[in-house]
Symmetry: C2
Subunit: 425 residues, 2 copies
């Protein structure tokens, strides 16, 4: 039997430097969580279909992995984390002091056409603040994203908007519920022709609505863009975007400079109720992170009102962006232990264990290669030192140490190994 | 609409101290990988059904999450990681210098009756050594498990055996292929009555086979148990357990003392070809880690022969064992920043950012609680310091710092914050 050894379409075996980039970005997100006080949680990968069909938006609904489990329940591989966080809040976190700041690393799934930076399984670091109605929480989250991408040294912008103005206008036009979500979806996808047709069919005053919405979509820039947008909206007769102004007033100046405000902004998730934002890396085709406020999701699930806001970092996408910009990441490798014969194996294992206990990034070559092959393995893998244990040396209680960078080599007693390593620095 | 907010049966929302235990164990496994030279890889959660149906064993086959994707492919949520690692080797790692040491953190799935320490989704840290035929690799892996569980300070034993003797006996009795795997499965499950019936039906000399197998199953102990088992087997006419003796000869003495050798040992996975082992924590109902050698799996998948060996740490189970033994784990929380009014929000966010940049585990209370409520939040969450920023203080460029342990409190200038923090130590 010959098995197809490729992963399923849209899935990936991530190894080598690709894995190292992804691991690096993942660890950085964990560090971000720790430094900003977000507690780790772990959520189920499989959820009920209704959890996402209710309010995640039509694009996500269309691309979900849905299947029936053995009990004939319609279940799905989670397409994103926020819905699960709110469900878990209602299940287990209601009694906790607020704000609740939680963080998780999740693999998420979309059954879509695979393309660059879009896979059927991908990784996200999800950050959520539950129970804080203040725009300061949103400003905090945007600042965290700024810190994260600044430290990665990528050229980026944060696009910041609010769904409030657009939703207010649509409501005024009598477009509510699923229809409103659909209009937002069309705006998100940039499908303006379809939007116009839809508004002509559904809106009370289609031409006025089209004009104001398309004008708003066109407005973007620094803080002044917020005021400009608000004026356009006011002229039309709505004025709900105080949140944008307030968030902008809280942001540190350097963060503010990286923000592009867009009053007519929409994102793919239907549960957003206010501020939304995305991080875009220059010349990178998809956004690398995104988030927003979703104050109504808990109520939609039958719970109490829960002001909430959060973002997800696209870990794969961020890793790809790092790679694209040639940012250097390296495995840290220090010592390779090379036993040359089974007779010295036990000692070699003891040496390896000692190095590992000291926290050195070490490895044992456990297949008794010839010295030549072992050294070529070690060079290829970029180790800094080798400890060579030969049979004759071993009988005399000695080992050979070699610094692979300086090529300095010396014999030293087994029990003075570490001092020897340091001496070859 | 009222959504069912509980996770699906057998799935879990892991929060609070449960999450902290799991995170702690996960990080420890990552550290183990780094120190012993295992490179991180990421593998797909969804795989073709055949990958596991071929050789993972009947228990796993029976409990897999199998479903049809939109292209009508029969796919499955991975029940374990080793099969995927070998597939990924054949797909992408063939050209790498050997031994290849890889590590991954995986969520895996079994559709079984949920019970204590058995869930439908659980977490594993998977370590594999590909390309090394030497028992030194097995000894290394057992030593790593010893280091891991010793550092966690749990009372444990490593049960070490080899499937070689049992498989040799079954082969001699004319029991091969799926029948042999089934017999091993019955031994693993301790179903001796069923085993006897099965042997009476299939074996050439059933009574002799039953006697030798049941004798071997009964032998366990220190290194002497290996010799004892080998003698029993030799009398019957097989002698294939050199691997056990060799591994034992390589193990450091303290590791050896924690090992219980069991020549008639079997494990649930059908792909094992030699040494197998499990870590058992005292008074804990299930094994917390397990592994073994699987030299034939690559060939079964249509690849070349690939000597390979590895283990998986059950991260949830290990976390549960830590909890059971009352091992203390704690969120590290240092500073909470408390802005008392929107007017000071921007400054508070700047302060929080400064603390985070220094690597402090800090958090911003972003909902402008009253001071009383804020302090009760902070005590509950166990922060060490608070930085209180009130409106009046702020106008004078001052903040208040309080050490929550010593209750010492002092006013200090905004730009001398860190020195102030240190002074309240």
């Amino acid at each position: 039997m010959k098995l197809n050894v490729e992963p399923l379409r849209g899935f990936r075996d991530i190894i080598g430097s690709e894995a190292l980039y992804l691991e690096t970005v993942t660890k950085k997100s964990e560090e971000l969580a720790r430094r900003w006080g977000f507690d780790r949680i772990f959520l189920p990968t499989v959820e009920r279909f209704e959890l996402f069909s209710l309010k995640s938006g039509e694009e996500i609904r269309r691309t979900m992995f849905v299947f029936k489990d053995k009990a004939k329940r319609e279940v799905t591989l989670r397409p994103e984390a926020t819905a699960s966080v709110v469900r878990a809040y209602l299940n287990k976190m209601r009694g906790l002091p607020k704000p609740i700041k939680v963080f998780s690393i999740v693999n998420v799934f979309r059954y879509d056409e695979p393309q660059f930076a879009r896979y059927r399984e991908f990784y996200q670091a999800d950050f959520e603040v539950l129970g804080s109605p203040s725009p300061l929480a949103d400003a905090e989250l945007i600042t965290m994203l700024y810190e994260f991408y600044s430290e990665l040294d990528l050229p980026f912008k944060v696009i910041v908007g609010s769904v409030k103005l657009l939703r207010e206008i649509l409501s005024k036009e009598g477009i509510e519920g699923d229809d409103q979500d659909h209009a937002m979806h069309l705006i998100d996808k940039g499908l303006l022709r379809e939007l116009e047709d839809f508004l002509r069919e559904k809106a009370k005053e289609p031409e006025r609505a089209i004009e104001v919405i398309e004008t708003l979509i066109g407005i973007e820039g620094g803080v002044e863009a917020i005021r400009e947008g608000l004026e356009v909206a006011k002229e039309y007769g709505v004025s709900e975007a105080k949140d944008l102004e307030e968030v902008a007033s809280y942001l540190p100046d350097d963060v503010l400079k990286k923000c592009v405000f867009k009053v007519g902004f929409a994102r793919g998730l239907a549960y957003y109720t206010g501020l939304i934002y995305e991080v875009k890396v220059e010349d990178f085709p998809v956004s690398v992170a995104g988030g927003g406020r979703y104050d109504a999701l808990s109520e939609i699930y039958g719970g109490e009102r829960l002001p909430a806001t959060g973002f997800a970092i696209g870990l794969d996408r961020t890793a790809l962006a790092l790679e694209k910009y040639g940012k250097d990441v390296k495995w840290k490798r220090e010592v390779a232990v090379i036993p040359l014969a089974p007779e010295v194996a036990k000692t070699a294992l003891e040496v390896q264990r000692k190095l590992a206990r000291l926290g050195l990034h070490s490895t044992l070559l456990d297949d008794f290669k010839s010295l030549k092959k072992a050294l070529s393995y070690v060079s290829e893998k970029d180790f800094k030192w080798v400890v060579i244990i030969g049979k004759k040396d071993y009988e005399e209680g000695m080992v050979t140490i070699k610094n692979m960078e300086t090529r300095r080599q010396s014999k030293c007693p087994l029990d003075g190994l570490l001092d020897c390593l340091l001496a070859t620095l």
